[in-house]
């Protein structure tokens, strides 16, 4: 066995030692010596090997005594997050596939029944070894709201670029240090571009690594921009204007708005961010009572999951948002501008 540092280090974990020997022989017969193959017959043995030397890829069997392969994948994800992980099983079921991927497997493969089949498996594992994950994450608009992603990025004061695309639209939203600084789609930039992108009924997005925008076209508070985007989206949806070419952004609104305060707390009442007052307790209590009331109303009327409460005031608006495990309070004051 060679010990070259340039070789990929691959660890196979299976409680059947004969299978491990066969696997090594098959690989060496058909693929040569590009990989340095290590073997372990239990999870404990695998963990010892991982603690003592560099491993690039671990391939785990599911059915093993004491700690099964799916549990081992979960442990590896926590202990060795950069390690590539694959599951190789003789009994592939949709449940095992889902559990494996959910626990952190990058690949789920069924054991082959012929040497040719193992060639395909080795090719897939070689692909996995070459694969380099991009920064950020991807999503589908119908499953994850763009507003939610922006909100997370802004609350975490991250810098990133949200790339959005569907059949007809390609756009970018730039977030710098937790503030929305630029949006562009086609010829459109600034707030109009932002509202258009946030009104898309579907598509995909990718959160890319930040790079400086060509210009800065957004300068409002992100909470206010998102709130206005939600209003524009509602208006366009009510008018049946969901297609890009029908989309209308408000013509120079005569109303100007100013963010008065924002508060974020957990459902259990722990304040995470408070830009409202010294004492957050009245707002936290109100948010909790609103969510409770929304749940009760949801039990009476089958209207779907609660999204937000909009309170229209004589001089502004208060929003109570329910997002994942968080409740958000936003207060905006509005004043009529000159005619």
């Amino acid at each position: 066995m060679t010990n070259g540092a340039n070789h990929h280090q691959v660890l196979f974990v299976d409680d059947d030692p004969d299978f491990l020997v066969t696997l090594r022989d098959l690989y060496q017969m058909t693929n040569g010596h590009d990989w340095q193959i290590h073997s372990a017959t239990s999870a404990n043995q695998a963990l010892e090997i991982l603690d003592s030397q560099r491993i690039d890829l671990v391939v785990v069997d599911v059915n093993m005594p004491i700690i099964d392969g799916i549990q081992l994948i979960g442990i590896l994800k926590r202990r060795h997050p950069k390690l590539k992980r694959a599951v190789l099983t003789g009994l592939a079921t949709p449940e095992k596939r889902a559990a494996s991927l959910a626990n952190g497997a990058d690949l789920f493969i069924e054991k082959a029944t012929s040497p040719e089949g193992y060639n395909s498996i080795f090719a897939m594992l070689a692909e996995l070894l070459q694969w380099a994950p991009r920064e950020g994450f991807q999503g589908v608009l119908r499953k994850v709201g763009l507003q939610d992603v922006i909100q997370m990025e802004c609350l975490a004061r991250n810098s990133s670029i949200l790339e959005i695309y569907n059949q007809n639209v390609l756009g970018r939203i730039y977030i710098e240090d937790g503030q929305l600084v630029h949006a562009v789609t086609g010829e459109m930039t600034g707030e109009h571009a932002l509202y258009k992108l946030l009104s898309l009924p579907g598509g995909s997005f990718e959160l890319a690594q930040f790079e400086a925008p060509p210009e800065k076209t957004l300068n409002g508070q992100w909470e206010m921009l998102l709130m206005e985007a939600a209003r524009v989206k509602d208006e366009n949806a009510a008018l049946g204007k969901t297609e890009e070419n029908e989309f209308e952004t408000p013509v120079q609104s005569k109303t100007s708005a100013r963010l008065e305060g924002t508060l974020v707390c957990t459902r259990t009442g722990e304040t995470l961010f408070d830009a409202v007052s010294d004492d957050s307790s009245p707002h936290v209590a109100w948010l909790q009572s609103i969510e409770q009331q929304a749940l009760q109303m949801g039990e009476i009327f089958p209207l779907g999951g609660f999204d937000r409460l909009e309170s229209e005031l004589t001089d502004g608006r208060v929003l109570a948002l329910s997002r994942a495990n968080k409740l958000v309070y936003v207060r905006v004051s509005t004043t009529l501008g000159g005619k």
Binding site: A238, F301, L303, F306, E310
Partner: protein
């Protein structure tokens, strides 16, 4: 005067997308009378949104503060936005509470603001005092 409100509700429930709507008096509910006859001022256009359910929602609405207790400004209305619909509620200085459940992106959804304004400015409305 009750008949007046009933006619107003009869007309509004026909707007496409209006699932249910109702009016009650906060004072009446406080007295416990609302539990008996609040459904009389509720309308429904969908079996899943009955007048009885509407009355339950009206009762629920009066229990929660419209804004945090520190909020200095007067409230015009509140809108709960759910995945498939909205519930709009507003209360007049004379204690009359109006609420409507509408389908998201429907005609009724589009007309929520003018409809609420209409309720708030009804000139002939007086207290919904029973008897």
């Amino acid at each position: 005067m009750n008949e007046y409100f009933e006619q107003w509700l009869d007309a509004r429930i026909t707007v496409p997308g209006m699932l249910a709507c109702g009016i009650t008096s906060v004072n009446m509910l406080d007295s416990g009378i609302g539990a008996v006859d609040a459904t009389a001022f509720c309308r429904s256009s969908d079996p899943g949104f009955s007048t009885h359910q509407m009355a339950q929602v009206l009762r629920l609405l009066q229990d929660t503060p419209f804004a945090p207790e520190t909020e200095p400004s007067a409230l015009k209305w509140r809108t709960w936005v759910f995945g498939n619909g909205k519930i709009r509620a507003t209360i007049r200085p004379d204690g009359l509470l109006f609420a409507a459940a509408v389908l998201l992106n429907s005609n009724a959804d589009q007309l929520l603001d003018p409809l609420t304004e209409e309720f708030l400015t009804l000139k002939t409305a007086e207290q919904l005092v029973p008897q």
